[in-house]
Symmetry: C2
Subunit: 271 residues, 2 copies
């Protein structure tokens, strides 16, 4: 079952079938109709591999993320895939597992599959890997990571605005003892969030007590440990802003263990 069979049945050449399928306007309406009927009758569908080889377009997008089990990603993956499928594309998702070696493997896979474009949402993407995409003429989009550079698009999160919203919310509730549990300091986006928070608090005129600034690891256990430490303080915080949701979940877990209610006793905001 291939394009030849359709061509034979419709009494045209394979070129005409191909043009009909791909919506080229160089096909007479009557002919196109005949081809469509043949396709219907035979239950034909094109072989994507052959299409990719012939046209040089794989109609596959790559999506490189850190780890699908981080609850931040599934929503993203779903939306990305939805949009891709709606435009006739397929998506290959690759998890780097936060490891540079595995990231290298991910990149290689994308190159071999000749993806038509790649979206990257992980910080393990070194410049030598970016170069390889460049050499393969593959367009890249960085999501929330990476520096703007030639030929690269960046979709960035407005951390300042987000943190401002969180601070606004917390201060409007009357809190003055506000703690922050940040992410790992080697993560650019974590540093950004931290700086944005300090700036925001300063603007609000909230005095910033260094001991209320904790460091987590963007995982649940880090949030729990950080909250545990905060609860040993003389002056406990009445509100906590966490650098990401897993950290917030960890913090809430710690609070529950210490028999504190959220939000009655302590307010928690996750970014």
């Amino acid at each position: 079952m291939n394009i030849q069979a359709v061509a034979d049945r419709a009494r045209v050449s394979t070129a005409t079938v191909s043009r009909t399928i791909n919506g080229s306007n160089k096909v007479a309406p009557k002919t196109a109709e005949r081809v469509r009927r043949a396709i219907e009758a035979l239950g034909y569908y094109p072989n994507t591999n052959a299409r990719a080889l012939g046209s040089g377009r794989s109609r596959i997008y790559g999506l490189i993320i850190s780890d699908i089990t981080n609850p931040f990603f599934p929503e993203l993956v779903k939306s990305f895939e939805d949009m891709a499928v709606r435009n006739g594309y397929e998506v290959i998702v690759a998890n780097t597992g936060y490891s540079p070696e595995r990231t290298e493997v991910c990149v290689q896979r994308m190159l071999e599959r000749k993806v038509d474009g790649v979206a990257v949402m992980t910080s393990e993407m070194g410049s030598h890997l970016i170069d390889r995409f460049h050499r393969g003429q593959i367009p890249m989009v960085f999501l929330d990571t990476g520096d703007p550079a030639n030929g690269i698009s960046n979709v960035l999160v407005d951390y300042a605005a987000g943190v401002d919203d969180a601070v606004e919310h917390i201060t409007s509730l009357g809190h003055t003892h506000i703690a922050f549990i940040g992410g790992p300091m080697d993560l650019a986006s974590a540093r950004t969030r931290r700086q944005a928070l300090l700036a925001s608090l300063k603007r609000k005129g909230v005095s910033v007590n260094k001991s209320l600034i904790e460091v987590g690891n963007h995982r649940i256990d880090g949030g729990r440990a950080a909250m545990d430490r905060l609860l040993t303080l003389e002056e406990r915080p009445t509100a906590v802003i966490a650098s990401n949701d897993l950290t917030a979940i960890g913090a809430i877990g710690s609070l529950h263990r210490h028999n504190l209610r959220v939000p009655e006793d302590v307010s928690v905001v996750g970014f």
Copy 2:
């Protein structure tokens, strides 16, 4: 940059390069070494689309799931992908969104990409869709769904054993007022869990109060609503077994709202 370039540089034919890459044992060690050096020097990597077309094997597996944002799936997707990549395969994930129409689209995508096999973990896979995979000679594995049939493999969850463990745990804590929040009754696996639970309780000699058997929807809101209803009962349960984790999360949320502690006041088990 193609196989011809490598062949020229290594002074062999493209056939020999292909055989070297694919690990055919019909290549002399000395020749293979020369080919490998040429590949290295040129930074060559094969075009997967051409490989797929020539060999008839796409080296892609399909994975059809309901919805990646259901926290049950990411772990599965990750393991599946890990294993696939380790064997030189790629994975295309498709979400049916619980909709039969979208499931049809998913199946079509898999067929067009000529996947070498497909794993299905969704209950929307009607028999006419299964037939299409059969016609395409594509091996299928059903995970936790589907009936055993010719040419289909099923990986099933031992619900009875799992429910037994839950009941054993709960009864060993001394609970006797045990509630169950099941899944939607039109879901085979939900019915199975429910029956297994009733059987298990009976075996343990725990009397089963019909009013303690609630129906959820396998989402958080359903668990919450069911727990709300259970808390209006004269004799409240002291323990709850939920048909899946989202249901359990909803139940816990409801308990917190009613100022009940988990597990101090009420024990909750999610399946």
